[in-house]
Amino acid sequence: MMRDDIERRLVLATQAGLPLVPRPYAYIAEQVGCSEAEVRERLADLLARGVVRRIGAVPNHYAIGYTANGMSVWDVRDDAVDGLGERIGALPFVTHCYRRPRALPDWPYNLFAMVHGSSRDEVLAHVAEIRAVLHRDCRRHDVLFSSRILKKAGLRIGA
């Protein structure tokens, strides 16, 4: 949760991105109404609390060569899914890995891993690697390739 009004104003001032000026934290401090040092201390605190995952650049996957992405979904035994989820999440081509509820009867999958590659074949090769890790603990799987981005917006909280 957000701790106070300064923290809320700091989130509002930075959610669209950091300003591209030599002293970005001083620039933000003026908008927030605190000192430049406090902006840096509060960002360090937000990072330590996990409210901010990291500060950095988010490349367009297509622009840096990842033209194929598949949402791989797996029906994994309940007593094995957590240990296996950690292992799948650690694979370098997986950017997100979650356990989600099944929606039986037509959606038996409880493990989701987003796989990126420069072609569908590369994604499918990575999916085969995941299959090998899951081995007999996986009953079924599928890969849902994305064919169009319909919307991509950042998170925005209200003012």
């Binding site: 950095g56 988010v58 622009a63 890995c97 981005i149 319909l150």
Partner: protein, 167 residues
């Protein structure tokens, strides 16, 4: 409404070897010092002005989708939920327009499956999710399948720039 096809991607020629090193360097931790761009530029052996100009250009050409803090909504009391719809093909674009019109819809992808529309709802409070789902169901007449996460094993959008993408 105009929808971006997957083929609409930034020109590859817009990235050179220095840009590639910048992207890789800036996917890690950005320094919390008074002049962070100067610190990064020095580590890359380029000028601060050059780094700022390249970041500005890469953001404008959408090689970078954003640069700044990445917030974890749940730690701020908010909620993210993945959801899907099985949309009849002849209504696909119209339903995409209805779904995308909700500010709670952060991302939306067409995927090859009978559940052919997958979107992420992001709300500032937990109870905003149910209201957004009801509204989509009411407007589209389609049943929303929600897949809230039960456990997160790994999330990191970091991917290194592929070789051959420096034009």
């Amino acid at each position: 409404m105009r929808l971006a096809p997957m083929s609409e991607r930034p020109a590859r020629a817009s990235i050179d070897a220095i840009d590639r090193r910048i992207i890789d360097a800036l996917q890690g931790g950005f320094p919390l010092v008074e002049r962070p761009y100067l610190a990064v530029a020095e580590s890359l052996g380029i000028g601060e002005d050059d780094l700022l100009a390249r970041l500005d250009r890469m953001l404008a050409s959408r090689v970078l989708t954003r640069f700044g803090p990445m917030f974890q909504v749940e730690r701020m009391g908010g909620r993210f939920v993945l959801a899907a719809l099985a949309v009849p093909e002849d209504r696909f674009d119209a339903v995409a327009e209805q779904v995308n019109a909700l500010p709670e819809v952060a991302h939306n992808y067409r995927r090859e499956h009978c559940l052919n529309m997958w979107f992420v709802l992001a709300t500032e409070t937990a109870d905003g999710i149910g209201a957004a789902i009801e509204r989509i169901e009411h407007e589209t007449g389609l049943a929303v399948r929600a897949f809230p996460k039960e456990r997160e094993y790994f999330v990191d959008m970091r991917l290194s720039v592929r070789q051959g993408h420096d034009a």
